[in-house]
């Protein structure tokens, strides 16, 4: 079972990174979502795997490690907030620039570039 989880983490990571390398904000956001899936599973796995042992006292003989679960909860919530903000920013960028490319270019500088006569010296 460990191999299943490890491979799932690896594949989710790879999918996440690949999408993060696309040139538009939406796939990047999806990629980061995949990355957070992978990382949450990884964090969860730091408590090792167990079946039939939810850490609810009195409901089973053994208990899985509750701490990583609590940490993953926090991580899930945080990455949700982050995704939401990034999504909104992506919308903002698209509404303002008219496209949703993730790369910035010189026109995106707050002010012009200028290659005046003294640009070098």
């Amino acid at each position: 079972m460990e191999a299943l989880v490890a491979s799932a983490i690896g594949i989710l990571t790879a999918v996440g990174i690949y999408l993060t390398l696309r040139l538009r904000t939406f796939p990047v956001i999806l990629g980061l979502t995949f990355l957070s899936y992978a990382v949450n599973l990884f964090l969860f796995a730091s408590g090792r795997l167990a079946v039939n042992s939810a850490p609810i006292l009195g409901r089973s003989e053994t208990y899985s490690d509750p701490l990583p679960q609590a940490l993953v909860l926090t991580a899930i919530v945080i990455s949700f907030g982050m995704t939401a903000v990034m999504m909104m920013m992506a919308i903002g960028g698209h509404l303002q620039a008219g496209h949703d490319r993730i790369d910035l270019d010189a026109r995106d500088e707050t002010a012009g570039r200028g290659e005046g006569p003294e640009a070098g010296a």
Partner: protein, 942 residues
């Protein structure tokens, strides 16, 4: 403390001109002059002690940890230089008062000048080489400001930058040199270092230190090959040229060599480097000066040449030569400052400094001519003026110095002197002699005494020292040279050394040669103009421009806003570093017994991964990509459940749904397709990087999962204390709201902030006219005719209260069973979202009785209050209490303060999600939607 006061005065006084300028230009100059005068008086008061051979010291601890202290001392050398700085400074202030135009901001000028003066005094009075560095760079800076004083002139801008680059850069090299020196000597105090000659010269680090320090000195004193900046600094107003670039700042390098002479001089390295640089500089600059048409350029190169002369003398390493060097420093300061001021007067009156447009000024400006005559004859080394005295001594020293061959040094020195004569006479001949012209840009005549008083005084000194050197200068030379050589000096200066002195013949040759050169000027000039020469300025400019281009290409090119490259580099770097770290340590194979494979898990695993792997292939259709992502995310929930984490399953599910809703809302405002933009090689590269990352993370997961922890996990405590300590049987929940409630506190604040950010951004977007017009013209596909189908509305009327019920249930039982405030908040939020979807934003929102912001605010406040409440019992933040309550007719139940905290979580989550989605909906409202007045679209029949 006198030396410290002398240094401090100009700095403290630098504010005065800026204040005094309100009361007029005279007041401004007077205030400046008063500062310098006061410092000069202090110096004169201390002078008798120095002349007696004492050293006046002052010490203030500044940065003892580094050995950098505000330590000052005043010895003979310091006295000489401080005297020059303050004395000539006073004259310059007088001169500048009349030189500057009404439109020039005089307050600023004198402020800079005083800053410069203070820095210069700091250099010559520092008893700590790090402190000396501080002042050293300050002179670079203040001269930068003074050169660029006339802001409208591009030459000033460029000259200032070049000066700063060269002298500031040299100063940086000197930092390294000084640090090495201090490390060898074990102290940065000069008084200590000067006693360590043997140790320093025996050190392996002597040569690096020497070279680095000389780099500083040579750049500052414009020695070859760093001479090129000085002529361009002449864009500064003439008082600046006279003060900085002839009398004082350029002498800082000379001063430093003199200061370090006792410990650095006397080695072959010193001799070869210093004397060669000086010699080359002297000859080459003299030759260039001869061909310059601009009065100030001519004087500038002549300054370079004379500085070379002094450097050469110091390089000889003999006490006699050093003494001559000290003497020439005095002489050069007097005649060169006078000459610069004269050039300034000519410029001021004739509106040109070009020798080709001048001539005949002798009759138009007799006073100015008189001053120029005396000063330039001194510069040419014509007896009996002071320039003659030191040049004669110099030639004598050169004649006795072996450099490559016994005669080479003498010959070259004579050639240099010859050019010196030539350009001095050219200055006079082409500027002042000859017929009066009628095409001056401005008809010149002698200025008022305000302008000529200062150079006249200097000219008087030229004569006085020339006529009676033993009376006027010898005592100063003695004490200063004594300080340089470390031995008592009693100099004998005379005009006549006898017929057998080589200097006599060399002098004669130089004068004769110089006159011959002047006579041959037209032909030589043609030759000079015809031969291409490497020009320093274009070369420097090219180097700097190339550097800047390189820098721009490198830094800006690398940071051109490309995101993919950044991520690829980051991922590869992280992977490489991680692998490198892993391989550097031992990894014992895991011995943990694995779980048997379960078919259900395999099924979930397979479905999840196929959905995930389909995304990179199908991601161009964004809805499809979103659906597949949602499937992956939703299937993680059962995976969590199967691995005994019901709380995680609940959270993952509810978060995933809200995320999908959010992304769908967002997709409305984004393109629906992702175009094919990356070429195949790039997709392949990205896939490669992704696989590397996946292998890395997956491998780590495998390594981790197959091993036990090295130590017992702290969570054993949480399990054990969950019920007795925190009053709940759900250990995950007790960790969240109690053991690590502080994490949760941070987490809900993250969520709250996220909503505030989203709201603020939506506000900003809605205020942008470009955005609102783009929204108003939002392309809409063919759409269904009903926005709010009746069936959904009716179903929601039941589902909303039911979901709320479930939410309350999940909240209440969370402490003991899976659930809690967070999931409850999300369930509530989903229920509300359903209501929003069913009847629309406006209709629903108009009937809502609470504000989202207030909900978030109260969420945070409640959780803070739950935490702070513990203070009342003297317990730390977030300490919880719980009590089992018996309240008839109810059965016993538990009241826990953690529930209050969890309520804060609930409120914050609900508020945050609703605020985020409401913000998005407000954007949607601008896309030309109509606001509905009824819950659903279908016409109601009566």
């Amino acid at each position: 403390m006198t030396p410290a006061f002398i240094v401090a005065l100009p700095f403290l006084g630098a504010i005065l001109p800026a204040l005094a300028i309100r009361f007029g230009r005279n007041a401004c100059a007077l205030a400046t002059g008063a500062v310098s005068l006061l410092a000069l008086i202090l110096l004169i008061q201390a002078a008798p002690a120095v002349l007696r051979g004492e050293v006046v010291q002052a010490r203030i601890d500044w940065l003892p940890a580094l050995g950098l202290n505000a330590t000052f001392f005043l010895d003979g050398l310091g006295l000489l230089f401080a005297g020059l700085i303050l004395g000539i400074g006073l004259l310059i202030i007088l001169y500048a008062r009349f030189y500057l135009a009404k439109s020039d901001p005089m307050g600023q000028f004198f402020t800079y000048l005083l800053l410069f003066q203070g820095a210069m005094l700091g250099i010559v009075l520092s008893d700590n080489i790090l402190l000396l560095l501080v002042f050293w760079e300050l002179t670079s800076l203040s001269s930068f400001l003074l050169i660029g004083y006339w802001k409208h002139l591009p030459e000033g801008r460029q000259g200032a930058r070049m000066a700063l680059a060269v002298t500031g850069g040299g100063g940086l090299a000197m930092i390294a040199g000084m640090l090495i020196l201090g490390n060898i000597a074990g102290s940065y105090d000069l008084t200590v270092i000067l006693t360590q000659k043997e140790a320093i010269q025996a050190s392996d680090w002597y040569l690096p230190a020497l070279i680095l320090i000389l780099l500083g000195a040579f750049t500052k004193s414009a020695q070859f090959p760093f001479h090129f900046w000085l002529p361009h600094a002449m864009a500064a107003p003439t008082p600046v040229s006279a003060y900085l670039h002839s009398a004082t700042m350029v002498k800082a390098g000379i001063f430093l060599m003199a200061r370090m002479w006792p410990v650095l001089a006397g080695t072959p390295e010193w001799f070869w480097i210093v004397s060669t640089a000086g010699l080359v500089t002297m000859v080459m600059a003299a030759k260039i000066a001869f061909f310059k048409d601009d009065l100030k350029a001519l004087l500038a190169f002549s300054t370079v040449s004379h500085l070379g002369l002094i450097t050469m003398l110091l390089g000889f390493g003999t006490k006699a030569a050093a003494t001559v060097a000290v003497f020439h420093i005095i002489n050069h300061a007097t005649f060169k400052a006078a000459l610069f001021m004269t050039a300034g007067i000519v410029d001021h009156e004739a509106h040109t400094r070009d020798l080709r447009r001048l001539g005949g000024l002798r009759t138009l400006m007799p006073v100015t001519f008189g001053i120029a005559l005396l000063a330039s004859l001194s510069m040419a080394g014509i007896p009996p003026l002071n320039g003659f005295l030191s040049k004669e001594l110099m030639l004598e020293e050169a004649a006795h110095t072996v450099w490559l061959t016994p005669w080479a040094m003498g010959l070259l020195a004579t050639i240099g002197a010859g050019f010196s004569v030539a350009y001095s006479f050219r200055f006079l001949a082409h500027g002042f002699l000859g017929p009066v012209r009628d095409d001056y840009p401005h008809r010149p005549h002698d200025p008022g005494p305000g302008l000529w008083a200062a150079p006249a005084l200097l000219a008087a000194l030229v004569v006085a020292i020339g006529l009676a050197p033993m009376l006027t200068a010898a005592w100063l030379v003695d004490v200063a040279a004594g300080a340089v050589t470390g031995a008592p000096v009693a100099v004998k200066i005379s005009h006549w050394h006898g017929l057998y002195a080589p200097a006599l013949w060399m002098s004669l040759a130089a004068v004769g040669g110089g006159l011959a050169l002047l006579g041959a000027y037209p032909r030589l000039r043609a030759l000079w103009d015809g031969v291409p020469r490497p020009e320093a300025k274009p070369m420097f400019d090219a180097v700097v421009a190339g550097l800047a281009r390189l820098a721009r290409g490198g830094a800006e090119g690398l940071h051109d806003g490309g995101f993919g490259r950044a991520v690829v580099l980051a991922v590869l770097a992280i992977a490489a570093a991680g692998l490198w770290a892993f391989l550097g340590g031992t990894h014992a194979a895991g011995t943990r017994v694995g779980l048997p494979t379960d078919a259900v898990v395999v099924a979930v695993w397979a479905v999840m991964l196929v959905a995930a792997l389909a995304v990179p292939i199908l991601h161009r259709n964004r809805v499809v990509a979103l659906i597949l992502t949602g499937v992956t995310g939703l299937l993680i929930a059962p995976l969590f459940m199967l691995f005994s984490a019901p709380d995680l399953a609940l959270t993952q599910l509810s978060v995933e749904v809200v995320t999908i809703l959010l992304m769908l809302l967002a997709l409305h405002f984004l393109p629906k397709e992702t175009p094919v933009e990356s070429p195949a090689w790039r997709r392949l590269r990205d896939a490669g990087v992704a696989v590397i990352a996946g292998l890395g993370v997956g491998g780590l997961a495998w390594a981790m999962l197959t091993r036990e922890a090295a130590f017992a996990p702290i969570s054993a405590f949480h399990l054990a204390q969950s019920k007795p300590g925190a009053g709940g049987t759900n250990a995950v929940n007790t960790i969240i709201v109690d053991f690590r409630g502080y994490d949760t506190f941070g987490e809900i604040i993250v969520l709250g902030i996220a909503a505030l950010v989203i709201f603020a951004l939506a506000e900003a977007l809605l205020r942008s006219p470009a955005v609102t017009s783009r929204l108003a013209a939002w392309p809409r596909a063919r759409e269904s005719g009903d926005r709010h189908p009746m069936m959904l509305v009716v179903a929601t009327r039941l589902l909303l209260p039911m979901a709320m019920m479930v939410g309350v249930y999940i909240y209440l039982r969370g402490h003991n069973l899976p659930g809690g405030g967070f999931v409850a908040g999300l369930v509530f939020a989903i229920a509300y979202l359903m209501q929003y979807m069913a009847s629309g934003y406006d209709w629903t929102h108009a009937r809502q009785r609470f504000d989202h912001h207030v909900l978030i605010g109260w969420g945070v406040l409640v959780s803070i209050l739950a935490g702070v409440g513990a203070w009342a019992f003297g317990l730390p933040f977030l300490t919880s209490g719980f009590e089992y309550v018996n309240l008839w007719p109810l059965e016993e139940f538990e009241l826990a303060t953690a529930a209050i905290f969890d309520l804060g979580v609930f409120l914050c989550v609900l508020g945050a999600v609703l605020l985020a989605l409401a913000s998005l909906s407000r954007l949607a409202l601008r896309t030309g939607e109509q606001i509905n007045r009824r819950a659903y679209d279908t016409e109601e029949t009566p």
